[in-house]
Symmetry: C2
Subunit: 83 residues, 2 copies
């Protein structure tokens, strides 16, 4: 399992209810793909959303997003993390 950050654009004026609904759509679908969406952050001013997930590969993560109706092509595998 690897961790990933993917990036969505075009979500200006997003509310936390919108973000929760989209995230719940991901988590409802994710198990079939061996993916888990850990957390998502949104910026309503720019319309950017960042999702942190873990899964077998980028394609599995992107496929969950596609099936959930909010596809993106921008994703990074992030094997390194510090806090």
């Amino acid at each position: 399992m690897s961790q990933f950050i993917d990036v969505h654009t075009g979500m200006k004026n997003l509310t936390v209810q919108d973000l929760k609904r989209e995230h719940d759509q991901d988590t409802a679908l994710e198990r079939e793909y061996g993916v888990h969406f850990i957390k998502a952050w949104g910026d309503p001013a720019s319309g950017k959303v960042f999702c942190l997930s873990e899964g077998p590969n980028k394609q599995a993560v992107l496929e969950v997003h596609r099936k959930a109706g909010h596809p993106t092509d921008e994703i990074y595998e992030v094997p390194l993390s510090v806090e």
Copy 2:
């Protein structure tokens, strides 16, 4: 206090030791600016690094990164988060 995600590029072949060292430089400087760097994720393949922080405004976060020697201009305020 708000939360922010900023993005660095050009860090290909980054190691976890590199990321830890850069993150420690931020956390050594952050208090003076009222900022806290919560976590950072790195992708050595693309050279992207994502930092999650909290602080009073974007400028304070970027100033810590600048003083630490790894400036960036790409930052988003992320008032929304779900998990």
